[in-house]
């Protein structure tokens, strides 16, 4: 699992590549640290290259959202495949996140 962080048009963009399973989750969680202090920036989670996500991954996404909302930041999920989207749907994430 590879993650990249960049700032783009004042948005924090986090790209995920490969399988975000339980084994990968601890590293990914560490990698998302820059997203914690997000005041004044919207967050885009780029899932274009994501092949798989488990509940550990979903937990990380939820943590990002819960952290960002009080700071007034929007969290967007971008480019998720149909399979990944169905997982978001099963867990009700489609109601929590904004999708672009």
């Amino acid at each position: 699992m590879n993650t990249t962080f960049r700032e783009e048009n004042n948005d924090y963009v986090m790209s995920f590549e490969g399988r975000l399973d339980t084994a990968a989750a601890p590293d990914v969680e560490k990698a998302t640290a820059p997203l914690m202090d997000c005041a004044g920036h919207n967050i885009i989670l780029d899932c274009t290259q994501m092949e798989y996500i488990s509940s550990s991954g979903l937990r990380i996404f939820l943590k990002i959202l819960k952290n960002a909302k009080p700071q007034g930041s929007h969290v967007y999920i971008k480019g998720a495949s149909e399979a990944i989207n169905s997982v978001f749907a099963m867990t009700g994430f489609t109601n929590l996140f904004e999708f672009i």
Binding site: T22, S55, S86
Partner: protein, 782 residues
């Protein structure tokens, strides 16, 4: 006749009047009866007096005439004795006696034959009266030899003077005249006492007869006279005269009364006799006539004597009867008039009875019994109106309650499974249940549902019946559902139910309950019986499911309910019932009992619906007309899971380290490919298996301890089954409460998504703790 009796029964006025008149009639009859008796006695006495008086008078008159005849005869005898030898002067004497005694009819001075030599054999100077003229002649001749006559011989033979019996007079030619005469005869004797003739004076009995016949104290009375021999001399029937005696008729028709009368008269007695004469009741008064030896009797018909009083009798009776009838009519009128208010009241009562309770009662303003009745009736009407209002209210309330009870029954029935077969898509289980309440609502319950390839079922019986039992039943059933959604072990379900119930059990209700959890994949049955009837297992044979004795729930808080296990072979039926079945009673109060259940089981198919149908029929037949005494509930479950052939099998064992997840992913991919799943399904399978395995890796073993987790994948007709097992601490992920995915980000916890995802992805999951291992099966149909 019946209509008259009916009329009298219906009419009080007629009845009362009849009674009064009847009573009055009784008094009248008695009084009049007494009066008439007294009057009759008086009349009778008076008739006796009258008859006696008449008899005396007649007797005296007859005696006077006879005396005159006797005296005249004695005087003439003296003359004859002075001049006994002058035959011619005898005519002078005989004529003289007649001249001086107009009552006398004739006189004969007869002499013994040849007394006067010159006169020859016969000499009898006879003078007789014809009209006012007196003729005299010598009457003796060869035709009429007078000295053989009674009147001549009697005094000679008796040697004393006396009266002859009356006889028909005979003239000198021997012819009888028409008149009856009686003669007073005296013997004529010379100085030496030699008899030389007889002097006889005749009196006509026509006269006597006229005198006696004139005695008529009553219009139809008549007199008779008899001589010494009983011969009639006076009788209204002239044919009887001289020829018949008073005894003649009695010889043909014995008549003791008449004979006695005849004897009495002959003896010269005086008196009165009551007897039948010619078929009529008569009083006969009799008395001897002077010294003649004759006797006279007056025959008075009773009708005559009492005709006056009988007339009076009839008149008074007529007056009394008319009076009584009049009285009856007047009484009926008066009573009818007096009772008119009652009839009015009756009419009003009829109106009230027909449902017009507000009908106005007549106000009589009377203080008598009718007024009281009217008042009482008014009060009754008032009370009735009140009572009926209350009754209406009560009835309405009862109807409401009944309709509410009906609704309650519907609600209660809707709590029970009612669609059969309940799981048409499953071929591994067949269930049928049935509940018959004795009342609208009942205290029996049964329920079943399948969760995570486990069949949860229960059957119970709340103590008591009716609404209280139904309420407890509803609560118990609801709690069973709630508890069983996150609790898989029957004794724990029962314990929680028990503790909850004991806490709130103020009314001391209790429930016998059997709870079973049948694992659909393995046929393992785990159950707990809290004092309920022991279920019957019907497989190749039939037998009771062994059950530990546990107290019913609600009795004792903190009771350790025991858990029991059994393996149910495919094809076996579990038959559960409440005591309404065993204790169903027929009219003789015999109970259905367990033996009959087994009898039905032996004869019936063990398919649930057929079995319960047969059982129901048997119970109904047994109970017959008797009323259902208790709720009757039956539940039958047939387990039909047959292991299908395994087409594919692959296993992997991993350490409890999340870093081995990629290895797991690789394993899952291989299996999914074997099952022929597409990429997306494959990814979801990965997700589900990873969640399950990671859960075991994280929580099954104590922190830091090494452990293993095995994943066995099999593909059969049932589908793809992943069995994830470990020998860590028992943990049932299926009993975790569901995550609410509709909550907002702020409300949501971070975890808990794993089991949710598994349920979403797999068709079913199933957890069992078998032989010290947690086994979680994830099933995906092909």
């Amino acid at each position: 006749m019946n209509t008259i009796i009916d009329f009298i029964r219906r009419k009080l006025s007629v009845r009362v009047s009849l009674w009064v008149v009847l009573f009055a009639a009784l008094i009248f009859i008695n009084a009049l009866g007494f009066l008439f008796y007294q009057a009759r006695e008086a009349v009778h006495q008076e008739s006796v007096n009258r008859a006696t008086q008449i008899l005396d008078n007649t007797s005296m008159r007859v005696s006077a005439i006879m005396n005159r005849a006797e005296v005249a005869t004695i005087m003439t005898e003296w003359l004859v004795k002075r001049h006994p030898d002058k035959a011619d002067s005898m005519f002078v004497y005989s004529e003289g006696i007649l001249r001086h005694n107009p009552d006398l009819n004739g006189c004969s001075i007869a002499f013994e034959p040849y007394h006067f030599k010159e006169q020859g054999r016969y000499f009898s100077a006879y003078s007789y009266r014809e009209g006012d003229t007196i003729f005299s002649k010598q009457e003796g001749n060869s035709q009429y030899e007078y000295f053989y006559m009674d009147w001549y011989q009697q005094c000679h033979l008796l040697d004393r003077p006396g009266w002859t019996e009356p006889y028909l007079d005979e003239d000198e030619n021997g012819f009888y005249s028409e008149s009856i005469v009686a003669s007073y005869c005296r013997p004529l004797k010379d100085k030496d006492g030699h008899f030389f003739g007889t002097i006889a004076t005749d009196i006509s009995l026509d006269w006597l007869s006229a005198t006696i016949s004139a005695v008529k104290p009553y219009p139809n009375s008549y007199s008779i006279m008899i001589g010494r021999g009983g011969t009639y001399f006076v009788h209204p029937d002239s044919t009887k005269l001289l020829y018949q005696t008073i005894f003649t008729e009695s010889m043909e028709n014995p008549d003791t009364a008449k004979v006695a009368l005849g004897h009495a008269m002959q003896r010269g007695e005086e008196g009165m006799k009551q007897m039948d004469v010619d078929g009529k009741k008569c009083y006969v008064f009799y008395k001897p006539l002077a010294q003649t030896g004759w006797s006279m009797a007056i025959v008075c018909p009773e009708d005559d004597i009492f005709s006056g009083i009988n007339r009076l009798h009839r008149a008074i009776m007529t007056i009394v009867i008319i009076g009584l009838l009049l009285m009856l009519c007047i009484f009926i009128q008066i009573i009818t008039h007096e009772l008119r208010p009652l009839r009015q009241l009756a009419t009003e009562a009829e109106t009230i009875a027909s449902g017009h309770f507000d009908a106005q009662l007549p106000n009589f303003q009377r203080t008598d019994e009718i007024g009281q009745l009217s008042n009482s009736f008014g009060n009754m009407q008032h009370s009735l109106v009140q009572y009926i209002d209350e009754l209406k209210k009560t009835t309405a309330e009862k109807a409401t309650m009944e309709s509410e009870l009906q609704v309650a029954k519907n609600i209660q029935m809707s709590m029970l499974p009612k669609v059969y077969p309940p799981y048409p898509e499953r071929d591994d289980i067949d269930i049928f249940g049935q509940l018959d309440s004795a009342k609208e609502v009942g205290g029996d319950l049964f329920d079943f549902f399948i969760r995570d390839e486990k069949l949860f079922f229960c059957i119970g019986d709340v103590s008591g019946k009716g609404v209280p039992a139904a309420l407890v039943m509803a609560v118990t059933r609801a709690q069973f559902r709630t508890i069983a959604t996150h609790e898989t072990v029957p004794n724990r379900i029962v314990s929680v139910l028990n503790d909850t119930m004991v806490e709130t059990n103020d009314s001391m209700m209790f429930v016998t309950l059997f709870v079973g959890v049948l694992d659909m994949l393995t046929g393992r049955l785990r159950y707990c019986n809290a004092g309920h009837d022991v279920p019957i297992l019907i497989g190749s044979g039939a037998g009771l499911l062994p059950c530990d004795p546990n107290v019913p729930i609600g009795v004792m808080g903190g009771w350790k309910y025991t858990l029991q296990e059994a393996t149910i072979d495919p094809g076996t039926t579990i038959f559960l019932y409440t005591d309404g079945l065993t204790e169903a009673e027929n009219i003789e109060h015999d109970q259905f009992q367990e033996q009959r259940i087994f009898d039905v089981i032996h004869q019936s198919s063990n398919a649930p619906q057929q079995l319960i149908g047969a059982m129901t029929e048997a119970v109904h037949q047994f109970v017959g007309e008797a009323e259902q005494s208790d709720d009757l509930t039956m539940l039958a479950l047939q387990y039909k899971h047959y292991q299908s052939d395994v087409r594919y099998q692959r296993s992997i064992t991993l350490p409890n380290d999340v870093q081995s997840v990629p290895e797991l992913a690789e394993f899952v991919d291989i299996v999914c490919e074997a099952a022929g799943f597409d990429m997306e399904t494959c990814m979801k399978m990965n997700l589900a298996i990873e969640e399950a395995v990671v859960n075991v890796m994280n929580y099954a073993y104590p922190e830091g301890a090494k452990g293993a987790v095995s994943v066995d994948a099999t593909i059969s007709d049932e589908g793809l089954i992943f069995a994830i097992s470990d020998n860590g601490k028992p943990f049932d992920p299926t009993s975790k409460e569901e995550v609410d995915t509709t909550l907002s980000a702020e409300e949501r916890g971070i975890g808990g998504l794993g089991i949710h995802l598994i349920r979403q992805i797999m068709d079913s999951i199933n957890y069992e703790y078998i032989d010290g291992r947690n086994v979680l099966k994830l099933i995906k149909k092909l």
